[in-house]
C-alpha cells in the first residue's frame, strides 16, 4: 500500500512537472525578472531563465529515476497490438 | 467484662455516627477511622474483633485496605464486613475474592448490621 501510494506520488509529480515548468517560463511570471539592466552587468533575466532551466532538468532527472524504479506494474505493460 | 471492639472505617460522618450508635447500643465498643491510612494504623496498634469497611474511601480505597489486611499475618482471620453503596454484583465478587467475610449494601437495616457483627464476633 505504501509503495503504491509512493509510486502514485512520483507519477503525479511527473504529470505536474511540465505544467510547473511552463508556468515558470511563461509570462506573467517570467516578466517579473525581465527588468531593464545597464550595459556591463548581467541581465537578471538571463540568470533567471538558466537557473529555472537547470532546476527543471534536475527535478526531471530525479522524477525519471523514481518513476523508473516502479514501472514493474502489470497495468503498465502494453497489450499486444491488433490488426 | 471487656467489650468486643469493632473498628468502623467510613468517611461519611452521618453514617459513622449511626453505625457507632447502633453497635454501642448492641454492646460493642467502637472505634472510628475516616480513611484507609488511619484504619491500618489502628489495626496494627490494637486488636479488634471485627472490621466494618466502606469500599469508597478518600485516598487508599477500601479494596486496598482489605488487601493489606489480608496480607498481614496477624490480621489474616479478622472478620471484615464490607460496606458498599453501589451494590453491584461485580463489587461484591471482587471484595469476596480478596477476603471479605460479609457484605452489606447501603442503605442497610440496622438490625442486619448488628446481627452480622454478632454472628462474626461470636457474641
Amino acid at each position: 500500500m505504501a509503495r503504491r501510494s509512493n509510486r502514485q506520488g512520483f507519477r503525479d509529480a511527473a504529470a505536474i512537472l511540465p505544467f510547473a515548468a511552463a508556468l515558470l517560463l511563461m509570462p506573467p511570471l517570467v516578466r517579473i525578472f525581465a527588468t531593464p539592466s545597464i550595459p556591463g552587468a548581467v541581465p537578471p533575466i538571463v540568470l533567471y531563465i538558466f537557473a529555472v532551466w537547470a532546476a527543471i532538468i534536475l527535478v526531471a532527472l530525479f522524477v525519471a529515476r523514481r518513476v523508473g524504479d516502479a514501472t514493474d506494474d502489470p497495468e503498465d505493460t502494453p497489450g499486444p497490438g491488433g490488426t | 467484662m471487656t467489650k468486643t471492639r469493632v473498628l468502623i472505617v467510613e468517611d461519611e460522618p452521618s453514617i459513622v455516627e449511626s453505625l457507632s450508635f447502633i453497635l454501642r447500643q448492641a454492646g460493642f465498643d467502637t472505634e472510628i477511622a475516616v480513611d484507609g491510612t488511619e484504619a491500618l494504623q489502628r489495626l496494627r496498634r490494637q486488636v479488634y474483633s471485627a472490621l466494618i469497611l466502606d469500599l469508597m474511601l478518600p485516598g487508599i480505597s477500601g479494596f486496598d485496605v482489605l488487601r493489606t489486611v489480608r496480607a498481614e499475618k496477624a490480621l489474616e482471620t479478622l472478620p471484615v464486613i464490607v460496606l458498599t453503596a453501589k451494590g453491584q454484583a461485580a463489587d461484591r465478587k471482587a471484595a469476596e475474592d480478596i477476603g471479605a467475610t460479609a457484605f452489606i449494601t447501603k442503605p442497610f437495616s440496622n438490625a442486619d448490621v448488628v446481627a452480622q457483627v454478632r454472628q462474626l464476633t461470636g457474641n
Binding site: T35, F50, W53, G82 | S18
Partner: protein, 906 residues
C-alpha cells in the same frame, strides 16, 4: 583563412569516419540487437538532431539581434520532454507496438488506416521541409566559403557572398549517397537504422564538443567578466520586457510541437525507439543536451558584438570569432560542428520523408495502376527500395533547387520558424488521436488541409515577398483589394507579429474543423477499432478484442503477397514455423492480422491493409461487437475511476465510524461511571436517613437532645439528597438540546454579589475570609442571572470547603478584557489542583483527591456547562497565593442583546 584543400580533406576524413561508424554500427547491431546501440544515451544523442545548423549558427545570430528569443526554441522541447509521462510515453509506446513507420503512418493508422490522410501529410511535410533543407545546404556552403575565403573570414562575413552552388551541389550529392547507403538498406523501417543512428550520435557529440570548445575559448579569453561581456549588449537583452509577450509563448509552443511533429524528430523519437527506458532517460538528458548547447550562446554573441566590426553577419560569429583571433583550429572545429549538425538533419529528414513518400504516395499509386511488379520474390522489394532511394535524391535535390532559386534573397533567413509552423499542423490530429475516441479521419483530413492552407496563405507565400505565387500587392492590400483578407492581418487582426498571427489562425482553423467534422459524422468501424487500440494502449487487450474483424483469405494468395514484400525467408518463417502450416487452405483471422502487421512495418499500415484486402475474400467487422467493446472500455474506465473514488470514500467513512465508535465507547463508559456514581451518591444520604429513622423508631426512650440531633441529621441528609437530584436535573438542563433558558442581558457583578452574600454564612462557619478584589464596571452579558450566581456560589463554596490553610482566604475579582470579554476570578490560598487533575475536575462526580467535605462532584461540571452555554468558558489556573484560581470568561454584549464585538466601545 584555411586552405580549401585542407578543409575539403578534413570534411572527407570526417565523412569517412561517419561511414565507418555507420558500417560498424550496422554490423554490431546485427550481431547483438540489444547492445549499447539501443542504450538510452545513444537514443538521446540521436534525438539531438533537433539542433540543426540553424541552432549551431543561428542561435548566436538570434541572440545578437533579438536577445533571449532563441531560447524559446529549446524551452518548448524541454517542457515537452520533462512532461514525457503525459504525452511522449503514450506516443512512443503506440509507435513501438504498432510498428509505426512515420508520422504520416501513425496518423493514418489511427484514423482507420486512411490512405488519403497519409498522402496528405506526406505532401504537406514535403512542401514545408524543402526550404528547411535548403537552409541547411546554405549554412554549410556559407560556412565553407567563410572558412576558406582568401581575404580572411572577417571580410567574407561582412560582405554579401554569392553562394557557391558547386560546393552545394557536391554536398547534396554526398548527402544522398550517405542516406541511401545507410538509410535504405532494407525496407523494414521498424528494423531500425542502427548504423545511421550510431553515426548521428557521433555527430551529436561532435557538434556539442565543437560548440562548447568555441564557447569556452570565448568565455576564457574574450568575455570573462560581466562588465566586458555585456558592454555592447543589444537593447533586446538590456530591456527584455518586450520579449515576453505573445511571441515568446507562441515560439515556445511552436518549438514544443515541432520536437514531436518534425518528420526527423518523429523518426528518431518514435520509430527508432525500442524501450520505455530510452524515453525515460531522454526525458531529462535531452533537455540537458539543449541546456549545454545554449550555455555559451550569449557569451559568444556578446563577444561578437564587442570584438567584430559592425556589419559582420552575427549568424557566422561562431566561425569568424576564432578565425579572426588566429584560432584556426577552433575555427575548423566550429566548421565541422556546423557541418555535423546540418548533415545529420538532412540525412534523417530525407530518410524519414523517403519512407513517407514511398509508403503513402508511390505504393498506393503503383498498386492502383498495377505498377508493382508481381514476378519473382525479390522484385516487389526492389521496387520499394528503388522508390525510397529515388525519394531521397528527390528530396535533397528539391532542397538544393530551392536554395539555388532563392539563394541570393533573404527569404531563407527566417525560413526555420516558418517551416516549423507548417510542419506542426498534424499536431491536433495526433493529440486527438491519442486521447479523443470520437475523432474521425474526415475531421483529421479537414483540419490538416485547412490548417495547412491557412499557413501557406498567411505565412509561407508572403515570406517570398512577392517573388512566388503571391504578389507584393496582395501582401500589402489583400487579394482583389479585400483588406480583411490581407495575409498578415486576417479579419483586421494586425496586432500580432506575422508568425504569431499565422500560428493562431492555422491552429484555430485546424482544431475547430477537426472537432466539428469529427462530431458531424460517425467514425467508420475501423477508425473506431483503431481508436480503441491507440487510446487504451496501456490497458491489456484481450484476444476477443482482436477478433472484432473477421476476414477470410486463401492461404496461397496471402503467402504470395507476403513473399513479395517480406522476402522468402521471413515468409517461410511466418507461414511454416508458426505452425499455421500447409494443411489449411483458408487463412485464419490471426494469420491475416499477423501478416498485415508484418507488412505494415515495411510499407505502412494503410498500404499493408490495401495489400491484404486484395486477397481477402470476405470481410466483416462486427460493428455491434466493436461498439460494445468501446463502450465496455469506457465503462471499465469509468467504473475503475468510480471504484477508486468509492474506496477513498469508504476509507474516510471507516475512519469516521471508528472515531464515532471510540467516542460512543467513551460515552458508554462515562454513562456507566455516571450511573454508578449517582447510585453511590444517592445511597449515602439514604443510608443515613434509613439508619437514623430505624434508630428513632426502635429507641422511643431516647432523650430529647439526641432525638433532635438525629432528626437534624435526617433533615440535612434529605436536603443533600434534594441538592443532588437538583444537580442531576441541572446537568440535564445544561446538556445541549434541552429546554432553553430565559436569557436576559444583565450585569454579572450582581450575580457575583449575590453569590458572595449567599456564601458568607458558610465562610464564617469555616473561618474563611472572603475578600473582594477589583470590580468590572458597566459590564453586560447575555444569559441567566440565577444560573451565573449558581456558578459563583459553586466556585466560592468549593474554595471555602477545600481550604485547609491555617489562615484561609478567598479572593473574588473581576475585570473587562480587550473590551469584549468579562472575566471574573475566584482564587483561594488552599493546596491548589495538580496540573494533571485540572481537566478531570470538570468531569461529573470527580472531587479533588483530598476533598472530603460536602458537595457531590457535579458542581464544576455544571458550572462549566453554564459558562459555555453563555458563550464563555470556565478554567483553572494557579492563584498568586499558591492555591487554585478559577476564571469565568463571558462575552460582553450591548443592552439590546446584540453580540459582543465593539459593544463597549459605543
Amino acid at each position: 583563412m584555411l586552405p580549401v584543400n585542407l578543409v575539403v580533406l578534413v570534411c572527407l576524413a570526417y565523412v569517412a569516419i561517419l561511414f565507418g561508424v555507420a558500417f560498424a554500427g550496422d554490423r554490431r547491431a546485427r550481431k547483438d540487437p540489444t547492445g549499447w546501440l539501443s542504450s538510452p544515451l545513444v537514443y538521446t544523442l540521436s534525438i539531438s538532431i533537433y539542433c540543426s545548423s540553424w541552432t549551431f549558427f543561428g542561435s548566436v545570430g538570434s541572440a545578437a539581434k533579438n536577445g533571449l528569443e532563441f531560447l524559446t526554441i529549446y524551452l518548448g522541447p524541454t517542457i515537452v520532454f520533462v512532461g514525457w509521462w503525459i504525452f511522449l510515453r503514450k506516443l512512443v509506446t503506440i509507435g513501438r507496438i504498432h510498428h509505426t513507420t512515420s508520422i504520416a503512418d501513425f496518423i493514418s493508422a489511427r484514423f482507420g488506416k486512411s490512405p488519403a490522410l497519409g498522402a496528405l501529410i506526406t505532401i504537406l511535410t514535403l512542401v514545408a521541409i524543402t526550404p528547411y533543407i535548403a537552409l541547411q545546404l546554405k549554412a554549410i556552403t556559407a560556412s565553407f566559403q567563410v572558412t576558406t575565403y582568401p581575404a580572411g573570414a572577417l571580410v567574407a562575413a561582412s560582405q554579401r557572398l554569392e553562394p557557391d552552388f558547386v560546393v552545394a551541389f557536391w554536398l547534396a550529392a554526398g548527402l544522398c549517397l550517405f542516406s541511401i547507403m545507410f538509410g535504405v538498406r532494407n525496407i523494414d523501417v521498424n528494423e531500425r537504422h542502427h548504423g545511421v543512428i550510431a553515426a548521428i550520435a557521433v555527430e551529436a557529440l561532435v557538434k556539442l564538443v565543437a560548440f562548447l570548445a568555441v564557447g569556452i575559448w570565448v568565455f576564457a579569453t574574450l568575455s570573462n567578466a560581466p562588465d566586458v561581456m555585456f558592454r555592447n549588449a543589444p537593447v533586446s537583452l538590456l530591456n527584455p520586457e518586450q520579449g515576453f509577450g505573445s511571441r515568446w509563448v507562441a515560439l515556445c509552443f511552436l518549438a514544443g510541437a515541432a520536437v514531436i511533429c518534425l518528420p526527423r524528430q518523429f523518426q528518431v523519437t518514435v520509430v527508432e525507439n525500442s524501450s520505455d527506458e530510452q524515453i525515460r532517460t531522454a526525458s531529462w538528458m535531452f533537455p540537458f543536451y539543449l541546456f549545454l548547447m545554449n550555455l555559451f550562446v550569449i557569451p559568444i554573441a556578446m563577444a561578437g558584438l564587442n570584438y567584430l566590426p559592425a556589419g559582420s553577419d552575427p549568424d557566422l560569429f561562431v566561425l569568424t570569432l576564432p578565425m579572426t583571433n588566429g584560432q584556426e583550429t577552433i575555427g575548423l572545429l566550429a566548421f565541422i560542428g556546423g557541418f555535423s549538425s546540418a548533415t545529420s538533419m538532412v540525412i534523417v529528414s530525407s530518410i524519414a520523408l523517403s519512407t513517407m513518400i514511398s509508403n503513402h504516395i508511390v505504393m498506393p499509386v503503383a498498386m492502383r495502376f498495377s505498377l508493382v511488379p508481381t514476378g519473382s520474390g525479390q522484385s516487389a522489394r526492389n521496387f520499394i527500395l528503388t522508390a525510397r532511394r529515388m525519394s531521397i535524391v528527390f528530396i535533397i535535390f528539391l532542397g538544393f533547387i530551392y536554395f539555388w532559386v532563392s539563394g541570393t534573397s533573404d527569404a531563407l533567413a527566417s525560413i526555420g520558424l516558418i517551416s516549423f509552423c507548417g510542419l506542426i499542423q498534424p499536431l491536433p490530429s495526433l493529440v486527438a488521436g491519442l486521447y479523443w475516441q470520437r475523432a474521425t479521419h474526415r475531421g483529421a483530413l479537414a483540419g490538416l488541409a485547412a490548417g495547412f492552407l491557412v499557413w501557406g496563405y498567411t505565412l509561407f507565400l508572403p515570406s517570398f515577398e512577392g517573388a512566388f505565387l503571391m504578389s507584393a500587392d496582395v501582401i500589402e492590400n489583400g487579394p482583389f483589394g479585400l483588406t480583411w483578407l490581407k495575409p498578415y492581418a486576417l479579419f483586421g487582426q494586425d496586432a500580432y507579429d506575422p508568425l504569431v498571427h499565422a500560428l493562431l489562425w492555422s491552429m484555430t482553423v485546424n482544431i475547430v474543423l477537426l472537432v466539428a467534422v469529427s462530431l458531424w459524422r460517425e467514425p467508420t468501424p475501423l477508425t473506431r477499432f483503431q481508436a480503441t487500440l491507440f487510446i487504451d494502449v496501456f490497458r491489456r487487450q484481450t484476444e476477443r478484442e482482436r477478433g472484432v474483424i473477421r476476414r477470410t483469405a486463401r492461404v496461397a494468395d496471402l503467402r504470395q503477397i507476403a513473399g513479395r514484400i517480406l522476402g522468402p525467408e521471413e515468409t517461410v518463417r511466418l507461414f511454416y514455423l508458426d505452425g499455421v502450416g500447409e494443411r489449411a487452405v483458408i487463412a485464419s483471422d490471426e494469420l491475416l492480422s499477423l501478416v498485415e502487421t508484418r507488412l505494415a512495418a515495411h510499407v505502412g499500415a494503410a498500404t499493408a491493409r490495401t495489400l491484404v484486402s486484395q486477397v481477402v475474400t470476405s470481410e466483416t467487422i462486427s460493428v455491434e461487437e466493436l461498439k460494445r467493446l468501446a463502450g465496455e472500455a469506457e465503462q471499465i474506465r469509468a467504473y475503475s475511476a468510480e471504484l477508486e473514488r468509492k474506496s477513498r470514500q469508504v476509507e474516510a467513512t471507516a475512519a469516521e465510524l471508528a472515531a464515532a465508535n471510540e467516542r460512543l465507547r467513551e460515552i458508554d463508559v462515562q454513562k456507566d461511571e455516571f450511573l454508578s456514581q449517582v447510585s453511590h451518591e444517592v445511597r449515602t444520604p439514604m443510608t443515613a436517613i434509613r439508619s437514623f429513622s430505624e434508630i428513632l423508631l426502635t429507641n422511643r426512650d431516647l432523650d430529647e437532645a439526641r432525638k433532635l440531633h438525629f432528626l437534624g441529621i435526617i433533615q440535612s441528609e434529605s436536603f443533600r439528597l434534594t441538592r443532588l437530584l437538583d444537580g442531576i436535573l441541572d446537568l440535564n438542563v445544561t446538556e445541549p438540546g434541552e429546554q432553553a433558558w430565559d436569557m436576559t442581558v444583565f450585569d454579572p457583578e450582581v450575580a457575583v454579589e449575590h453569590a458572595i452574600a449567599t456564601c458568607e454564612p458558610l465562610a464564617r462557619a469555616a473561618g474563611v475570609r472572603i475578600r473582594r478584589g477589583r470590580r468590572a464596571r458597566h459590564a453586560l452579558v447575555l444569559g441567566s442571572q440565577d444560573r451565573l450566581a449558581q456558578v459563583f456560589i459553586n466556585l466560592i463554596s468549593n474554595a471555602i470547603k477545600h481550604n485547609p490553610n491555617a489562615n484561609p482566604e478567598v479572593v473574588v475579582s473581576s475585570s473587562i478584557r480587550a473590551n469584549v470579554t468579562y472575566e471574573a476570578k475566584v482564587a483561594d490560598n488552599g493546596p491548589g489542583v495538580a496540573p494533571m487533575d485540572r481537566e478531570s475536575i470538570f468531569r461529573k462526580f470527580v472531587r479533588g483527591a483530598k476533598a472530603q467535605q460536602g458537595g457531590v462532584g457535579l458542581g464544576l461540571a455544571i458550572s462549566r456547562q453554564i459558562a459555555e452555554r453563555f458563550g464563555g468558558e470556565l478554567c483553572i489556573f494557579d492563584s498568586k497565593a499558591g492555591g487554585a484560581e478559577f476564571v469565568v470568561r463571558l462575552p460582553l454584549c450591548t443592552r439590546d442583546g446584540a453580540g459582543s464585538g465593539h459593544s463597549t466601545a459605543v
